[in-house]
Symmetry: C2
Subunit: 248 residues, 2 copies
């Protein structure tokens, strides 16, 4: 592991260091005053200001200001970085194809540049995802409702794969839609599509009426918005309040 670092370099010095760092496959951090322009899926321009430019060996480029989790401008992985001195500025350009897009950062002044080779240690273990919620339900189906029996996960349908498919205590088919957090109306629409697709597939009676539905829909989520609850009630579906992980 070696760190390169230059303070207040000339454009030409910065250029050398950048090209060496590209060559080594380093992770690069550049502080400086720059303008940024992007052209591709959309187009944008950003006037002069102090920012942090991060360049990754996989082609990703990030321009960060002092605010926000999101970079103000960026280029996705798979791009190629190029640097040059043009018109008294240090120009760093990241380009990719499919779609064609280019990010150009023009430094009028580089305050600091550092670079480091980075390898390994990229595996993140994450708990509390939707998959954890599915696991939890498969292990304890009664959390959905007494008598619920899961039959299949990711069951295919014409509307796409449904999260969990099973039957209730009466043997009625149940489509379960899982969400790891509070949901809005869109989740109800998604559930409705699965239920409709399954009804069609099973040749079930599609009439609305006093007859109990032949396919049930259950939305499992920690909580739902009022509008989602309305739409859920309209469709005759149920909500089960459940966290992706047991309460501490």
């Amino acid at each position: 592991m070696t760190v390169t670092s230059v303070h207040d370099p000339s454009h030409r010095e910065a250029l050398w260091e950048l090209e060496d760092a590209f060559e080594r496959g380093d992770l690069i951090s550049v502080f400086g005053r720059c303008t940024v322009s992007y052209e591709g899926r959309a187009a944008s321009d950003l006037g002069a200001g102090d920012r942090l430019l991060v360049l990754k060996p996989d082609g990703a480029a990030l321009v960060h200001t002092d605010e926000g989790r999101q970079p103000v401008n960026w280029q996705p992985p798979g791009s190629e970085h190029h640097a040059a001195v043009r018109g008294g500025q240090l120009r760093v350009r990241s380009t990719r194809t499919n779609p064609d897009e280019t990010l150009t950062v023009r430094f009028e002044r580089v305050h600091h540049l550092s670079a480091m080779a980075v390898t390994g240690g990229r595996d993140l273990t994450l708990h509390g995802s939707e998959e954890d919620l599915r696991t939890r339900i498969l292990e304890r189906p009664e959390l959905v409702e007494p008598g619920f029996e899961p039959r299949e996960t990711e069951r295919p349908s014409s509307a796409g794969p449904m999260d969990v498919f099973g039957v209730d205590a009466d043997g009625t088919p149940v489509v379960v839609e899982l969400k790891r957090r509070r949901v809005g109306p869109d989740a109800v629409g998604q559930l409705a599509r699965y239920v409709r697709a399954l009804k069609e597939e099973l040749g079930a009676d599609e009439r609305d009426g006093d007859d109990p539905p032949t396919v049930r829909g259950v939305l499992v989520a920690p909580s739902i918005t009022d509008r989602a609850a309305e739409r859920l009630a309209d469709r005759g579906f149920d909500h089960v309040a459940l966290e992706p992980t047991p309460e501490e």
Copy 2:
């Protein structure tokens, strides 16, 4: 503008610099070997490895590896940064409430730390957004279809505001849903909700049948997926292929 930079500092040195930088409201970049743990909306752990930690004065914290546009771990703006030396490690912790979540980065070694005061120059001008598409249609309604007359944008409905509301050459109400890029089935569902809400509001005949629909739905997007086209046809809606900006 001043840049602070320390190379291979001791934990205590790094701590001093960090606390000064917090005080100054600097944008901070730290290279080092660290472990990362997160607990909040979910929970995660990341083993030892070389990474780049970015700390922003607005409370945002980003842990970047050598790959990907996304940070491997992060904390949103509004958090508070704290640093301390504990157990022979430099511990940087970002905490926020609502929801309660904490990101902890433990450095066993800091390779490089730099910090810079950053102000201003945060305004990005972006072209090619959905709003540009709306503007384009309002200026040239015939791009939707000959005789189309926009009447209102963001027209409220019980299903939320619709992008563009207008009437066609026959005076039939038209709900227009705008998407700046290729869309899937979800957009059709969204459009359907608006159309349904408007039909109810207008007290229009909701029967499906051979009667022409009393409210039309038009999806304006550069292109749509096959499944979206199916659902569009099911509902009797139309697709108009249009880019958010004129072709170059």
